[in-house]
Amino acid sequence: MSLHLWIIPLLPLAGAAINGLLGKRFSKALVNTIALGSTGLAFAYALWVTAQFAGMPSSQIPYIEQHSAWITTADFSVNWGFYLDQLSLVMMLIVTGVGFVIHVFSVGYMEHEGGYYRYFAYLNIFMFFMLMLVLADNYLQMFIGWEGVGLASYLLIGFWFLKKSAADAGKKAFITTRVGDFGFLIALFLLIKHFGTLQYEGVFKAVSAYPVETSAGFLTAIGLLMLLGATGKSAQIPLYVWLPDAMEGPTPVSALIHAATMVTAGVYMVARSHAIFDRGPDAMLAVAVIGTLTAIFAASIGLAQQDIKKVLAYSTVSQLGYMFMGCGVAAYGAGIFHLMTHAFFKGLLFLGSGAIIHSLGGEQDMRRMGGLRKYMPYTFWCMTIATFTIAGFPPLAAFFSKDGILWKTWASGNHILWLIGVIAAGMTSFYMFRLWFLTFFGEYRGPTPETGAHAQDVDTRHAAHTGAVRDAQDAHVTSGSHGHGAPHESPWVMVVPLIILAFFCVISGWVGISEAMGGSDRFDHFLAPVFQAAAPVAATGTPPAHESASIELLFSTISVAAALVGFLIAWFLYYKRTDLPAKIARSLGGLYTLVLDKYRIDELYSAVFIKPLIAASTDIFWKGMDRGLIDGAADGSAAAAQEVSDEMRRMQSGNIRSYAGWVAVGAAVVIAFMVWRGVR
């Protein structure tokens, strides 16, 4: 029986093609129908596939569907194919489900923006590539999706491309991830060299023959190179710098691409390649260490940011760090579990912040928010759920997923990593509640609609936010009818997605309640066949669950306590004594500025990598190599030819007698030659 998996990615592609090529003439309703229809159908089809998958005997899993050949050579070939197992099923549902919800939200959010059809075409093409990435049955096809989502990300970050910061952020994202892609590509070359195939099935089968590497060998190398690729795409140290800047894009894009789906591609890739990482303990440790460092580093930057989206961006980087931490201690199930819950709560947080920004006419600075609880009750309640979720309060989703990661980190013996993780969890709780209090409590600190000057101010700021990019028919948007004077609740088309995601924030954790807490850890067991498939024999020593149940509960309590501490500090500083934060900031002085400036990592990279690179490109490669050597050789040979022909020209004098003379001389030479050689 064939599931025809190809339909799922192809639906959004068709939507993108129709909207992208013809959408300029379409009405908004038609653009909506096509974009939402194709995504919705893809989601519906994914649900049908899920139902079929549930009925499959385990012998048929992974279900592989191969279509036409793509690359065929004598000893290496790649097919177009699709691969469905528990892991790609989960990813497929997240991408189509959350993707559809965010499409719906975008209808409201982008209502007043120009380039409406373009936005949805990009969003659909992102869906296509992301589905190719998660459903591919070989690494090369995954790479196509991998690069494709990077392209979609670039296009959407730079959506308001007339704004220089947006265009720059798009380029930064694209170039930074390229650095990681280079590592991924080399890893693929190594796979071809050692196994002669890129099909998952073939690679995993071949890898199974190898034992765990005791000293670093080629499997470790492949793992480390893949990790480099993952750090680029999933914004880990050292390549995380692009993600905060990616917030220049429309907020639903931040929610879909830079929180819920694309940035998790690296986690998916590590989990998918678990057979390789399992056999390279050094690569594995690198994953865990990088994940943990990123988690605390990004969380600490998030403490001081003033821009609501920047806080969420650093929070995303930090949460991705947790996922890597999980994968790095071989708790892939926990990592993917957190990936899923994160898709819900971070998607919700971004959409909520988008609703706030939309309602305030483009204001992103939390210092000019406050008191929004009264104006936007639905958004407030949804954001509240999301905030409590990410902070890790039971019984919300992230409590179970984050706790699973932390517990398994401790159980695997990495006690220091666990400690850092818990501290980062406390920080997470603090900065999220800081955001919550600053945004929804206290008095509204933004400009009031009563005074004309302020209203003018709001309108101009809204215009800036809208961006100069708008088609002519949309030019009316900033005026009157949709007054942005006072904060207001969003239209239902934006509220409903929030409620749906909030619902999943609450319940999605329940599928993975661990045994220690009286659950059955069904999510982990569901994914287990994937991660046991090609696992090395020695690595099956999981901690004995029942004996450590009470310890596990203790550790959960510690995590919740950390979250509670973060909450209390935030409550004290940003609700009870709102005068204190400024004083603390002043007394910290340089340290506070350093954190506010994101540890000046961008400046460091600029000085160490970017400026020398630009200087070398300009002086050596452009002026030296290109203009000096290559242009010099081309221009020089042309000039030489001209000089020589200018001299040769004089031989053709037009004088008949000189021609005759040359003929005579030539004849004489020929005769002399013949005489000399004795030729008759």
């Binding site: 004098s653 037009g654 004088n655 008949i656 007698r657 005759a660 005579a664």
Partner: protein, 100 residues
């Protein structure tokens, strides 16, 4: 009987005269006559060899050369007349329209 080498030496002298005339003279008519001289020098070699080797083909060649020379004279003189009509000179150094 005159030896073959005499004829050949005479032929070479005539040919050299033709070449020299061709190179140093400016008048087209003279140049034209120099060409005729060279052709006839070659003809002389042909008949000398033919007589010496008792072969007929040398004579045949000479007839061909004479026919070609006659045709060339007709066409060449026509060109010369035409050149003289347009340029009013027979000096070849002045006939240099194709010069760069």
């Amino acid at each position: 009987m005159v030896p073959l080498s005499y004829y050949l030496i005479l032929s070479a002298i005539l040919f050299a005269c033709g070449v020299t005339g061709f190179l140093i003279k400016r008048n087209i008519i003279t140049i034209f006559m120099s060409i005729e001289l060279m052709l006839n020098a070659v003809n002389l070699s042909f008949v000398a060899f033919a007589a010496s080797l008792k072969a007929l083909s040398g004579h045949i060649f000479v007839f061909f050369v004479m026919v070609v020379a006659a045709a060339e004279a007709a066409v060449g003189l026509a060109i010369i007349i035409s050149v003289f009509r347009t340029r009013e000179t027979l000096n070849v150094d002045r006939v240099n329209l194709l010069k760069l």
